[in-house]
């Protein structure tokens, strides 16, 4: 049976708040990085590392582990915060993000950070790497699964659609792609920059099993992953409708918070809000 660190949605919600707090703290300390897309995918990443994926934090390179490729590599803070929450490395280390000598590079580096399964950061390449892992798992008749978190702006990269064909052609039902559909990218809304039209339809036309979900509703995310595991002969794409900057009111749906770190007073304000969110739920 897969090892699940947490199974209670309430506990997962609390963990997601802790992860968001850590994202804000890390970025405040580093002075650079990407809060918007880290916060939008915090609930998805929480469910992945603390519930869905079969991983061994004490043995990060365990060959039988499920793998995650953070195709939208600029959301490294959410990956690091989730890995720390799962126990891959000490939480204190998060504050070294992007610093000289840190194991936490600006974008994920599989050679330096325990728990990072693939180096990413150049958009459009991660889904292909995830396909490669899923093919390897199938070749070996292994049970482990592969997850790829893909940005919506990232779908403008042509290679994503090459990989989308590969996954279907090779019947990679051990692969689940999650699209963080927050609707914003550096230069504006995805609609204004280069419209993606209907993302779910596009993946459906490519032959994927598509599940649409609210990317901030933890039980719904859990349900989507469970359904993905049931799909046979086709890869699953979870189109997760999210809010960029989710959880910090002044960052929500603001293009400017794609790649700008909060100042100290903004960190304080954000942490106050997140603490309040924690209390309401408790």
């Amino acid at each position: 049976m897969p090892q699940r660190l947490l199974s209670d949605p309430e506990q997962l919600r609390a963990a997601a708040v802790r992860i968001r707090k850590n994202i804000v703290k890390m970025l405040g300390r580093s002075g650079s990085g990407h809060p918007g897309g880290s916060l939008s995918s915090a609930d998805i990443m929480t469910v992945l590392y603390l519930n869905e994926m079969n991983v061994r934090p004490e043995e990060p390179l365990w060959p039988g582990r499920d793998r995650l490729v953070l195709s939208k590599g600029h959301a490294a803070p959410v990956l690091y915060a989730a890995l720390a929450e799962a126990g891959f490395f000490p939480e204190d280390e998060l504050l070294t993000l992007r610093q000289w000598g840190s194991r936490l590079q600006g974008h994920p580096d599989m050679r330096t950070t325990p728990g990072v399964d693939m180096s990413t950061g150049s958009l459009g390449q991660g889904l292909s790497a995830a396909c490669g892992m899923a093919i390897a798992s199938k070749m070996d008749g292994a049970p482990w699964r592969v997850y790829a978190l893909v940005g919506d702006g990232e779908l403008q990269e042509g290679q994503i659609w090459e990989a989308a064909m590969t996954a279907v052609h090779r019947k990679l039902d051990n692969l689940t792609a999650i699209i963080d559909l927050n609707g914003l990218q550096i230069d504006g809304t995805t609609e204004a920059v280069k419209s993606l039209r209907n993302v779910a339809d596009r993946f459906r036309v490519f032959g994927w099993n598509v599940i649409e979900t609210d990317g901030h509703d933890i039980p719904a995310i859990m349900k989507a992953f469970a359904a993905a595991r049931e799909a046979k002969g086709v890869p699953t794409c979870i189109v997760a409708h999210t809010i960029k900057g989710k959880g910090v009111s002044f960052m929500e749906n603001q293009v400017g918070w794609h790649g700008t770190a909060p100042k100290p007073d903004q960190v304080e304000e954000a942490l106050r809000e997140l603490a309040a969110a924690e209390e309401v739920r408790n």
Binding site: P63, R67, V69, D109, M110, R111, D117, M118, S119, T120, G121, S122, G124, Q125, G126, S128, A129, A130, C131, G132, M133, A134, I135, A136, S137, M139, G158, Q159, E162, A163, M165, T166, H169, R170
Partner: protein, 316 residues
Amino acid sequence: MAEMIATRSAYGKALVSLGARRNDVVVLDADLSKSTMTAEFAKAFPDRFVQMGISEQDMMATAAGLAAAGKVAYASTFAVFAAGRAFEQVRNSVCYPQLDVKVCATHAGLTVGDDGGSHQAIEDIALMRVLPNMKVFVPSDATVTEWIVKQAAEVPGPVYVRLGRLPVPVLYQPDQRFEVGRAATLRNGNDVAIIACGLMVSKALEAADILIAQGIEARVIDMFSIKPLDLEAIACAAADCGAIVTAEEHSIIGGLGGAVAEAVTSAGKCVPVERIGVADKFGKSGKPDQLLEAYGLTAESVAQAALRCIARARGM
């Protein structure tokens, strides 16, 4: 007359024998398996062959994923696509994470022939050589190709192997021993050193024959290991011969000539270097021999470069 075998054919054969020995070896191709010769592996080991279709970028990053999951992934297509089209995938998904992806690129250089300049990679050595963690090999014949293809599975991390379309003379006996980072000296001589790679090695040997008629003894070095480069062989060539000619089926910018020139600047002795290669131009359609002639990649032009180089050395 030596037996003629294309390095791509030697690659196809070597892959099959490697595949029989190691079941962690997988092969990817982008709809060119009959030309790159990976079709032989596909036939022998269909479960370990991944046909990617016409998507080289996807192929390189998929190979990276396979390697990240413990496979040794050989990825093949034409050199212009492997090094050019998929450059950034090779950089960020393969070299940066130091993954076991062995990029074996065929149809390198002008001798692609009729297909013309769009398909003749003249810049791939330069592109691959500049990447950290990447090893670059340009085999000159079937024997060294077979060794490199098998050796690539043993050396950890990314490897680029540059292979040709055209049959070329077999230069080595099957029992010849090679080493990574160690050039093979095919002919001894102390008047000038000709450092060549790929099909220009056999041209260099012909050039040495031309030179001997004029009483000039040329050393011929097969620098099949471009990275790591055999710095010692280059330093010795500079010290012993005092004049160096490089010969490659590649741009004179950034390839073997560039690498040797860089090495000479840090070698003990400053010696003139003449670079034979494609002079910063794209190729064109034509028969391979016509192209080699038109672009000056002949034994005669190597011999002339040797004479120029010796004259320069005397004038120093």
